[in-house]
């Protein structure tokens, strides 16, 4: 019986929230197929990937640790997407946040000032925001599309960090390894659970969830942003400035990504290295969509993505599976999500037999 897609009269609320679950299940199934194709027992691999990390306290704190940068970046990306902006350069903004905040740590760390950490947080957010302000300027002033400029500037930021840790900021006692000095204790985020790596940055990320929700749902600024994103011509008619929306959306996204970078530098890493993130900035795009661009949904999606990262590391350790396998699963996750999202607005119907 031939099938056909047809528009639903109203978008399906159920499908809106069912779709990410469906996507996760399908991606897990797809992952199982990949593991089987590589010659591993798919059930063992999937258990290692999705269940084992959750069975220990250490695993749970590591989950929170990995979810922190994902959550921060994804919330920023979601706010930008709601404003109609494709910020795919969170990786670069994260890097610049780490550089700006890390610079303060390297310059003033160890002197015992109370203001070191607050200054690092501010600098991290400012660094990310400043990096995102460049595409905002290029878009509002020259109409250059942010999707390419944010990404290109990502590559530039990573090269810039590479130059810093190979050159001016290299640890003089580090046997020429391309990395900075370790941050002093007063420039490190406090650990929350004794004996684990879970640090206070997770609280910042959790705080960002209700704040972002309130911004989007309860403020005039958020209403304007959403209007600009959904219907630019309606926004213009209402008198909402698209340029102001671009600045706000991109700078906010950059600030959150910068904060994420600083939390990595002043958290689990404790120094500057050539790569501050295993692709959190890109994975956060998936997280944002998986979480329906809604802050509370993103919280759940960030935990799932953190689990994939964490499980991927365990797979590498216990089964010698390449870490790239998790990248494949991430890609499949987004594909399945986009495919099932089609059924929010549409449904499958049988084609009636045609009478000629």
């Amino acid at each position: 019986m031939p099938l056909r897609l047809e528009a639903r009269p109203e978008p399906s609320r159920a499908m809106l929230w069912l779709s990410p679950v469906l996507a996760a299940v399908l991606a897990a199934a797809g992952g199982g197929l990949v593991f089987a194709a590589l010659g591993y027992d798919p059930l063992v691999a999937l258990r290692t990937l999705f269940l084992d990390p959750l069975s220990t306290l250490d695993g749970l704190t590591e989950l929170g640790l990995k979810a922190t940068p994902l959550l921060l970046c994804a919330i920023g990306i979601a706010v930008a997407v709601q404003a109609g902006l494709w910020n795919i350069g969170a990786e670069g903004q994260l890097t610049m946040g780490a550089i700006a905040g890390g610079g303060i740590a390297l310059a003033f760390g160890g002197e015992g000032h109370w203001w070191i950490l607050p200054a690092m947080l501010l600098a991290g957010a400012a660094g990310g925001a400043a990096w995102a302000a460049i595409p905002a300027l290029l878009k509002t002033r020259f109409h250059a599309h942010e999707i390419l400029t944010t990404l290109m500037l990502s590559y530039v930021a990573v090269q810039f960090l590479g130059w810093l840790v190979h050159g001016p900021w290299i640890d003089p006692e580090g046997f020429n390894f391309p990395q900075s000095r370790m941050f002093e204790a007063d420039a490190l985020l406090p650990v929350l659970v004794e004996g684990t790596r879970l640090h206070a940055g997770v609280l910042l990320a959790l705080l960002a969830v209700p704040l972002a929700w309130a911004l989007l749902a309860r403020t005039v600024a958020g209403y304007r942003l959403r209007t600009i994103g959904l219907a630019p011509r309606a926004a213009r008619y209402a008198g909402f400035s698209a340029a102001r929306g671009t600045w706000l959306g991109l700078c906010l996204a950059g600030a959150l990504a910068g904060l994420a970078g600083l939390c990595e530098a002043a958290g689990p890493v404790g120094q500057l290295q050539p790569l501050m993130s295993p692709g959190y900035g890109f994975a956060a795009i998936i997280v944002a969509f998986l979480g329906r661009l809604q802050p509370f949904g993103i919280l759940l999606a960030a935990l799932l993505m953190a689990l994939i990262y964490l499980g991927g590391e365990q797979l590498q350790v216990s089964m010698q599976l390449p870490i790239a396998a998790t990248g494949t699963i991430q890609g499949m996750l987004l594909f399945f999500l986009l495919a099932s999202d089609v059924f929010i607005d549409r449904r499958l119907v049988r084609v009636a037999r045609r009478h000629a």
């Binding site: 047809e6 528009a7 639903r8 009269p9 109203e10 978008p11 749902a217 309860r218 403020t219 005039v220 600024a221 209403y223 209007t227 959904l230 219907a231 011509r233 309606a234 213009r236 008619y237 209402a238 008198g239 909402f240 400035s241 009636a352 045609r354 009478h355 000629a356």
Partner: protein, 511 residues
């Protein structure tokens, strides 16, 4: 009756979109050489039926007979092979291609473009349609584009020509030219299926009519034997309610435009040249003209979406040319834009969120924070006051019919209590019931002392609504003429005039 079978005969056509029946057991028969009207309100199922005939859409059930033989029309190519030509309401032309390329695409032939260009000139000359095959379509006026569409059909020697609302974009004089051409075509034996909701035109042109209502055939008649009123009653299935207007005395000027000249933003926009107008409190001023002559640009400049020098535009005596839409709104200006979804309202927003679009103020959003209770109260009031049929304030914009969405937008702007209201094509594409309600709301607002500027392509609408009418052509605005002293013919001359002729034509219209 002659024994020849009808050129086209439809029986039992059914087409369902989701829950709605667009066509329900529709039957239609067109004789050779006949000009047959297909009549109905928006959403009555006319366009769907024509797409079925042209093979764009497949029917769920029903039969099509061509010259007495049953046929299946799988796609537009099959329709063209039978000899069916179609002129679409929203033209199926490609802006960046040339006239010849456009026609080549429509013919489905592999003739070289040079040979085609010669043929185009020849056929164009025969039917008195002036076109240049080498020009790019985006340079052409709306009337010229329609000629390309018609030419594309004529080059295939059609035996049935379908025209979907062809006159909505033409000046009265261009309409006369079109009718002359259609009559000649019919005399040569080609059948014409003419889709319209303009009743006077149908009475002048067509010798048979099929009336659709809510997807079903409501009536068949000879339009020449009917009145416009009786045809309208067939369309809506009841009596037409009329608007009532109170006599009113215009007050002081509330919106004054002084020598406004503005270059366009869009690549093919119109430059506004030396626009001057004065709108008085309690008055409805109509702006007539064919779309694309500066209407969008003028409205954007008046509403504040385009800024100009402060002194060019004055609202209640204060200069506002430099202000944006929100600031002008705060000073008592309201605007009903042409496009409903995407500009006047947002498809994915609830009615509550849509109410907020132009109503962010100290009550709905104190100190930059939204007050959900106040927003709900506003939306509830708008729905009740203007009789909007919707599932509630949580209903999405896209779930409303065109007429109800427009009532909501018009209501939102009127409810703001504006001193000046700009309305662009306020009843375009809405059903007659909603159109009457919207017209009444505008008349009441004017009676309450607001100045209203209505931009419309529908001359009948302006003649029924406005106190004075000015014509916008080529980016220039003619001086306004009192409605009592002019008529469709005189205004039509202005609409088609070259920019430089505006003043002379205005004098002619007033005379």
């Amino acid at each position: 009756m002659s024994p020849t079978p009808p050129r086209l005969a439809l029986t039992g056509i059914v087409k369902r979109y989701g829950a709605t029946l667009a066509n329900d057991e529709v039957a239609l028969s067109v004789a050779p050489g006949e000009i047959h009207a297909l009549l109905g309100e928006n959403g009555a199922g006319k366009s769907t039926l024509m797409k079925i005939v042209y093979g764009v859409v497949a029917p769920d059930a029903g039969e099509i007979a061509w010259d007495g033989r049953p046929v299946a029309i799988a796609d537009p190519n099959a329709a063209r092979r039978l000899g069916i030509g179609m002129v679409f309401q929203h033209f199926s032309l490609f802006e960046t291609l040339t006239v010849a390329e456009n026609i080549a695409l429509g013919l489905g032939s592999t003739r070289p473009l040079e040979a085609l260009a010669a043929e185009i000139r020849q056929v164009a000359a025969r039917y008195g349609l002036a076109v240049d095959p080498g020009r790019h379509v985006h340079h052409l006026s709306v009337g010229e584009r329609q000629r390309i569409e018609i030419l594309r059909c004529l080059l295939q020697q059609p035996r049935l020509l379908i025209l979907d609302e062809p006159t909505s974009v033409l000046t009265p004089q261009e309409v006369e030219g079109l009718f002359a051409m259609l009559r000649r075509l019919a005399a040569e034996g080609c059948s014409v299926l003419y889709i319209s909701h303009k009743l006077e035109e149908i009475r002048a042109l067509c010798s048979a009519a099929t009336v659709l209502r809510a997807g079903r055939v409501a009536a068949r008649c000879d339009p020449r034997a009917e009145t416009a009123e009786s045809l309208a009653e067939m369309m809506i299935g009841g009596r037409v309610v009329r608007t009532t207007r109170a006599a009113r005395q215009p007050g002081p000027p509330c919106l004054v435009v002084d020598r406004l000249t503005l270059a366009p933003e869009e690549p093919f926009g119109t430059t506004l040249r030396d626009i001057a107008l004065e709108l008085r409190a309690g008055e409805i001023l109509g702006i007539a003209g064919v779309a694309g002559n500066g209407q969008a640009e003028l409205l954007a400049a008046l509403a504040g979406e385009r800024r100009s020098a402060a002194a060019r535009i004055a609202l209640d005596g204060r200069p506002v040319g430099h202000l944006g839409p929100a600031a002008r709104r705060a000073r008592g200006l309201a605007f009903i834009p042409e496009e409903r979804l995407g500009r006047g309202a947002i498809a994915d927003y609830s009615l509550a969120e849509n109410a907020l679009l132009t109503r962010l103020d100290a009550r709905t959003a104190p100190r930059g924070l939204l007050d959900p209770g106040a927003v709900r109260a506003l939306a509830t009031r708008l729905i009740a006051r203007f009789g909007v049929r919707a599932a509630g304030i949580a209903a999405r914009g896209r779930s409303l019919s065109g007429g109800n969405m427009q009532k909501f937008i018009v209501g939102r702007e009127i409810d703001a209590g504006p001193r000046v209201l700009l309305a662009a094509h306020p009843t375009w594409g809405v059903d007659i019931g909603a159109a009457v309600a919207i017209h009444q709301a505008l008349l009441d607002l004017a009676a309450a002392g607001a100045g209203i500027l209505v931009v419309s392509e529908d001359l009948d609408e302006l003649l029924g609504l406005a106190d004075r009418i000015a014509v916008l052509a080529g980016g220039r605005l003619s001086p306004p003429v009192p409605v009592a002293e002019t008529g469709a013919e005189a205004i039509g001359l202005l609409m088609g005039s070259a920019p430089g002729d505006a003043q002379r034509m205005a004098d002619a219209a007033a005379a």
